[in-house]
C-alpha cells in the first residue's frame, strides 16, 4: 500500500517538477511548484516525519511559494505567456541535465547502502527535536540554531536595504 502511495507521490513530484520548469504561464508554474512541495510534504508524512512535513508545508508552501507568487504578481501580467525557450539552449541544457542525471544515478547505484538494522519507529516528537535544537552537547544544535537566526536577521536587513528606494534616483 505504502509502496503505491510512494509511486503516486513520486509521479506527482516528477510530473509537476517538469511542469514547473516548462509551463509558459508563470503563475501556473508557481502553482505546480506548490504541488511538488506539497507532494514532498506528503512523502515526509509517509516516512512518519510529521514535524518536518509540517515545516515543509508552512515554510515552503506557505512561505516561499507565497513570496514567489507575490513577486510574480508584482512583476508580470497574469495573462502573459513566457516566450518559448531557445531550442538550442533547451537542447543543450536538456542534454547536460540528462547526462548529469545518468552519471549521478550510475554513481549512486554503485554504492551499497546498508540499511540500518535499527528500526526506530518515528515519529520523532517535537519535544525531542526541540531539545536537540537547543542542546549544546554532542549532536546538539543550538549553535546552528543561533547562527541561522543571525542569518535570518542579516537576510532581513539585506532584503530591506535592497527593497529601500534608492534615494537619488526615485
Amino acid at each position: 500500500m505504502e509502496r503505491f502511495i510512494f509511486y503516486f507521490i513520486a509521479a506527482i513530484i516528477l510530473v509537476f517538477s517538469v511542469l514547473t520548469v516548462s509551463s509558459r504561464r508563470i503563475l501556473r508554474a508557481a502553482v505546480y511548484l506548490l504541488f511538488v512541495l506539497l507532494a514532498t510534504a506528503g512523502f515526509y508524512f509517509l516516512l512518519n516525519y510529521n514535524f518536518l512535513a509540517a515545516v515543509q508545508l508552512t515554510v515552503y508552501s506557505g512561505g516561499i511559494v507565497v513570496l514567489i507568487v507575490f513577486a510574480i504578481l508584482l512583476t508580470a501580467h497574469l495573462d502573459h505567456r513566457l516566450p518559448k525557450p531557445n531550442r538550442l539552449k533547451a537542447g543543450f541544457s536538456g542534454l547536460l541535465a540528462v547526462t548529469g542525471l545518468v552519471l549521478t544515478l550510475f554513481a549512486i547505484s554503485r554504492f551499497e547502502f546498508v540499511r540500518s538494522p535499527l528500526v526506530t519507529e518515528g515519529p520523532y516528537n517535537i519535544e525531542e527535536i526541540g531539545t536537540r535544537l537547543l542542546s549544546y552537547g554532542d549532536y546538539g544544535y543550538v549553535l546552528p540554531f543561533e547562527v541561522i537566526s543571525v542569518l535570518l536577521l542579516a537576510a532581513m536587513v539585506a532584503a530591506i536595504i535592497v527593497a529601500k528606494k534608492s534615494i537619488k534616483n526615485d
Binding site: E2, V21, A71, T75, L82, A159, A163
Partner: protein, 105 residues
Amino acid sequence: MIEGIEVFDVLVVSTAMFFIGIYGFMVRKNLITILMSVELILNAVNINFVIFNKYLYPDMLQGYIFSLFVTGIAAAEAAVAIAIILNVYRHMKGIDVEQVDTMKY
C-alpha cells in the same frame, strides 16, 4: 520505512528532481522561474537528507535537522533574491534573464 521501496528508488526521484531543477535554472527565461528552479533543487536535497536519515541512520537526527535548516535558508535566500529581482524589474521594467547582461566579456 516504506515497504518495498529501497533507498535507491527514492534517490532516483530526488536526483531527477534535482536535475529538473538544474535544467529549469538553465532554461527558464524569467528570473522568478529560475528562483523556482532553485527551490526544486533544494527540495531534492532535502529529500535526500531525509531518506538517508530514515533508511540508513535512523539513530540520529542529522539528516533530519539538516533538511530543516536547508528549508530555513531557502526561505532567507528567496527573500533576498526576490528583493533583488524586484529591483531589477524596477530598473528594466522586466525580468527576462537574457536582458540582464549589461556586463560581459
